[in-house]
Subunit: 288 residues, 2 copies
């Protein structure tokens, strides 16, 4: 594997940033990996774990001379840090991110970065029930999908180098425009999160004594960080509301089938869902 970048700076060395650092260093995909953190203890830990070659608390200092900057902070901080580091970036630098929504970030970043610096929005669809640098692992991105969201204004060469990086750490790379990304992820990620939270909200206190593995798995994502999820849903309002309305329409149809005891309509609704789910996860069938 040859170097794709000379100097990569990762701002935010938590689960995602830390795992990326490990994978980049293992693959020798950059000559130097610099980490920017907001606490010295995280930087020390990242150095100790071999996540980064150098670390600093000073973002402007950390991104100087970088030819790739990865904004891997919580989604709500990405554009603010982008603005902050913009003056320190060298010409030709590529900036990318790992945010779960893309339209707002791409629009804002494109407007704040200086001429000669290009933004390539990215969203690695990977996660873990754990958080923070200690949960970082080299193979976090292996066999996952990473979406890149270039616009007409993004130089193809910049997109290509970011794509090569994600492919080199094991991800399948897909291209979507930012709005398309947000529309799709509203259905595949943001809606499931909201549904999980509302399922939990529907439970009474006594219900908790009568839960099985079904509702446990169905609601797992409702344990996600509240602030991050506020940022995600509020930065993708329109697409999220459309997804909710699509869902509600389907729920009405199911409700009607049960209400009228229309077994064939109900069976058709459930069978269509089962067929589709079994197609997406052939090994993950379930009864309960």
């Amino acid at each position: 594997m040859s170097e794709i970048f000379e100097r990569v700076t990762i701002v935010g060395v938590g689960l995602i940033g830390g795992s990326l650092g490990l994978a980049v260093r293992r693959g020798t995909l950059a000559r130097t990996v610099v980490g920017v953190g907001h606490r010295q203890v995280s930087i020390d830990r990242a150095l100790e774990m071999g996540v980064i070659d150098e670390g600093t608390l000073d973002a402007a200092e950390g991104v100087k001379d970088a030819d790739l900057v990865v904004l891997a902070t919580a989604i709500g901080l990405i554009t603010a840090i982008g603005e902050q580091i913009a003056p320190a970036l060298k010409s030709g630098c590529i900036v990318t991110d790992v945010g779960s929504t893309k339209s707002q970030i791409v629009r804002r970043m494109t407007s704040v970065l200086p001429a000669g610096v290009h933004f390539v929005g990215a969203h690695p669809i990977a996660g873990s029930e754990k958080r923070g640098i200690d949960a970082a692992e080299t193979d976090l991105f292996r066999d996952t999908t990473c979406v890149l969201t270039p616009t007409d204004a993004t130089p193809p060469d910049a997109v290509d180098r970011v794509r090569k990086l994600w492919e080199a750490v094991g991800a399948r790379v897909s291209m979507l425009d930012p709005e398309e990304h947000d529309t799709i992820l509203a259905r595949t990620s943001h809606l499931p999160h909201a549904m999980a939270a509302m399922l939990i909200a529907t439970l009474t206190d006594v219900d908790g004594r009568f839960v099985g593995t079904g509702i446990r798995d169905t609601t797992r994502v409702a344990s996600g960080d509240v602030n991050i999820w506020c940022d995600i849903l509020l930065s993708n309002r329109e697409a999220f509301l459309q997804a909710v309305d699509g869902f509600s329409g389907r729920l009405d149809a199911l409700r009607r089938a049960v209400d009228t005891a229309d077994r064939s309509a109900l069976a058709e609704i459930l069978a269509r869902a089962k067929t589709r789910r079994d197609g997406l996860w052939p090994d993950g069938s379930a009864v309960e």
Copy 2:
């Protein structure tokens, strides 16, 4: 462990019935375990696996002389088989089941069983992504909850013996009246199933390329058997519709918070759900 019953007949030796047979035989909770199946190959396999001592395809023959009969078939068959075996049951026999809804079954069984035979409704909240006798395991019920649903007419002694059996195979036993059971399970099991199916239904074809572990787990139960789930939802219509309406009201509030960009309202909704979920499953936190 001493014998609780002389002769236990399990009608339906699949995952649940087979696991119960294994656990009863391991604990020597009955002198003889008889299995009733509808295919000889299942009976042969159950004998070979040590699930039962004797097996037959003839339900009336199988339940003769039993002092406990466990109806462990698919939920839609329970009352029909109950009617079929009723004339063959000896006086003093206790009949129980493992159905996921209880009001209809308890009502029907109470009316079809002869005098001197008592029905104790049961619902072991245990399952697996697998089905059938080959998936049976001795410890399936360990640390799970089994709900018994006696009515005012059920003799306490019959309830007590069924309770002892479930406790002896490792389950925590809770008592609910049948309607209360169905109301609670509508929220903890039937609603999550419907939500999982509707989340899958909301996806477009292209969305399947952008799915992570969140939606995978959120929708796992949508792979459940369509006929069984039609039986469950249609045998619990009223409570299910109430659960759906409770859910829809909460979803409306979340929708409104996002629509009006009311971050504090949204954060409160998500935080309440997270707190409750973390309380129910302290080890199962999640971000994505």
